[in-house]
Symmetry: none
Subunit: 423 residues, 2 copies
């Protein structure tokens, strides 16, 4: 099946935002065995949008739209598609209730233009918007399938995964041999080294296929195979996964697309272990990533962002002479990372205590180079480990990579205490 | 002048990379007063690429290509364009020398396929590649202008700025007036209400144009005008900005594309004010967003993530009977938000203390609904304010919106102490 993605929005044509929706959908469609032949971006202009639809009709079986379904006057996607299909539009009552509910919950009066967000094309399947207001839709018309999704990624992604994907599997992909994939997640290893280690495996076979790609600070390998049944596919995928695990046992941390923090949160929660953190240069990013996982409240007690030296002394008992004066180690040091990890663990009374202190940049501090970071792990009745990192990239990269690094080290430490991995 | 950007590369259609080239070029072209009407992505396929070229010819005056000019067999851009223009290709001697030089410098033998990177279309202007090997080109043919650029951003960007842009100004833009824009950023107001307030202004005029759009939790308005000179443009844009400010004085927080946290960090740093935070349900997201801004270390001292009730009692002196027992307020309450803000301010010895406590979900807690959040602002020698929020969306949305809300309230509080805004 051939697909085209049409992103609607003048902000894309002005370069105010990058078209990350097209990337997300392309990956998802590839995983469904659908070939994306074109991605198109068109502005909030009715005539040009309809031109784009006519072109797409002729060269794609499936056309996905993102954007242009909000409340404002330049949100034109549904109108343009309805016109090009010769169909009408009507208010979807469930969607309208959802919009009304939103405003009454907030105690804010609903302005009239918000009714627009509940519009759907006649005889289409409404796709509920669980993270926003504008309802999406899916429709089969003549030889084409159409899916209309919101522009904001936080609304588009869940609507595709939870609403549009099942609709496609049921209506559009009935006679395709389904493609089954597994996402293998790796930590503590770079893309090129990983590819190097797997190169023989990658070249040695083409079913299942092996596709590595790198995201910010972590590497993912997608293994895929087409098979008539789930069980046949899984047999092939599981076998390959085991081969890869034997090559990289210390790096393969999950065989579903979950972040390391989720593996850690679930593991510690299920085994009754608790965690606390002391962050300097990452300023809360570590704790934010842990608490982004539902269920973290049962294993994460809290922590301290000790951005200033005063906070390091006052709340985490870092000796003043560690931080200041002639020959002091300085805030960015192995010694301070050690104290931070141990003291936050004691203060919070947790099984593990993590610490991060470093120079995120842009400027250097204490005459130490940007990218120098120390991360510490303290453990109840266990030894405290401190690791030195020399990271490259900008402030954001360095902060993210510091967090990835300490999470990886915690995962390794937890694994040492367990014969079998949590996977 | 109407432009279309055609990005060539199957890796884009597979979602392996995001089309950041289109964003970069769109911004550059807008600044030149060129309207980008379409962005197209097509794979490394000769037939589909030529289809895309024919479509673009009919709807754009200027067509820019990125990608598909490397040494490999799937690099087809120059061949496809040459075919569609009915022209030949030849080796550009300067480009060939550049390629030879590269290999001889490295002492590596040049493989034959690298000669391809020196190819240009007959009677075109070669665009030297200062950061890579593949030569680009610019060409005027019948009613269209064509510019061919490399795919890797580190090659494409300098080639556009140093080679293609001057070519365009000299050959294609002799009679264009440049476009000037301003980004107005709003907080504490939704997209629909904002448009409702500005609707008369939006309808009442088309120069400067007014384009509102919503990002996660905030609204942006771009005002744009074409003018012969910077000063004339700014006069028109500033006048309109003032009109909008009079309508929404409590929501317009910046007239450049900066996040609220940057405005607050810069403001507090420049006035010597300091800040600390106590976070429960947001788990560090507030402090992470503040410390993501370079320079925050001079105004942000740190804070506490008091995820558990024990941490709220131990580190922030929340009375036990506030949290537990018959008729207790509970952790998610106005009273606890107040204590958290005041205690973290005192502990850190800062001018302001912020607090967030709420139910981010997915599950409710203390029999309180998901989305109920209390945010507090404590101020040295000032009164403590607590606001109740009823937010919708998933865990991530609720956490982000809670942070946006407290930042907005802090900005308002800072503004109250200042006759003029920081803008």
């Amino acid at each position: 099946m051939k697909a085209e993605i049409i992103a609607v929005g003048t902000e894309l044509l002005l370069g105010q935002i990058v078209n990350s929706n097209a990337q997300f959908l392309s990956v998802e469609l590839a995983a469904l065995g659908i070939d994306v032949y074109f991605q198109t971006v068109v502005g909030d202009n009715s005539v040009r949008l309809q031109e784009a639809i006519e072109i797409a009709k002729g060269r794609a079986d499936l056309i996905l739209f993102t954007g242009g379904i909000g409340p404002t006057e330049d949100d034109l996607t549904k109108d343009a598609l309805a016109a090009s299909l010769g169909r009408g539009l009507h208010i979807d009552q469930l969607a309208m209730n959802h919009v009304d509910q939103f405003f009454s919950n907030r105690g804010v009066p609903m302005t009239e233009n918000n009714r627009k967000q509940a519009l759907v094309i006649d005889d289409s399947t409404p796709l509920p918007n669980e993270t926003g207001l504008a309802v999406g839709l899916a429709i089969s018309h003549e030889d084409n399938y159409y899916v209309v999704l919101p522009g904001p990624p936080r609304e588009m992604k869940p609507m595709f995964t939870q609403q549009a994907k099942p609709w496609l599997l049921q209506h559009a992909l009935t006679d395709e041999t389904p493609l089954y994939s597994k996402m293998l997640k790796f930590a503590g290893i770079g893309e090129s080294l990983l590819e190097d280690k797997l190169i023989n495996l990658i070249h040695g076979q083409n079913d299942p296929t092996i596709a590595p790609y790198a995201k910010e600070g972590e590497v993912t390998v997608r293994i895929s195979t087409k098979a008539p049944s789930d069980s046949e596919a899984m047999k092939k995928l599981d076998a390959l996964e085991e081969q890869i695990r034997t090559i990289l046992p210390e790096n393969l941390y999950a065989s579903t697309d979950v972040p390391m923090e989720k593996v850690i949160v679930d593991w510690m929660a299920s085994t009754g272990l608790t965690l606390s953190c002391a962050e300097s240069c990452t300023g809360g990013l570590l704790m934010e990533s842990i608490t982004s996982i539902p269920g973290s409240s049962s294993m994460f007690m809290g922590g301290i962002v000790c951005y200033s030296n005063e906070m390091k002394q006052k709340l985490l008992n870092v000796p003043k002479n560690y931080l200041e004066g002639e020959g002091a180690f300085g805030a960015v040091s192995r010694e301070v990372a050690e104290v931070l990890a141990e003291q936050v663990r004691i203060t919070a009374g947790t099984d593990y205590g993590l610490s991060i202190t470093g120079v995120a940049g842009p400027g250097s501090s204490e005459r130490k180079p940007v990218g120098l970071v120390y991360i510490g792990i303290a453990e109840k009745d266990g030894k405290t480990e401190v690791f030195e990192l020399k990271l490259s990239g900008n402030r954001e990269n360095i902060r993210i990579r510091s967090v990835k690094a300490i999470l990886y080290r915690l995962w390794r430490r937890l694994a040492e205490h367990k014969a079998d991995t949590p996977l």
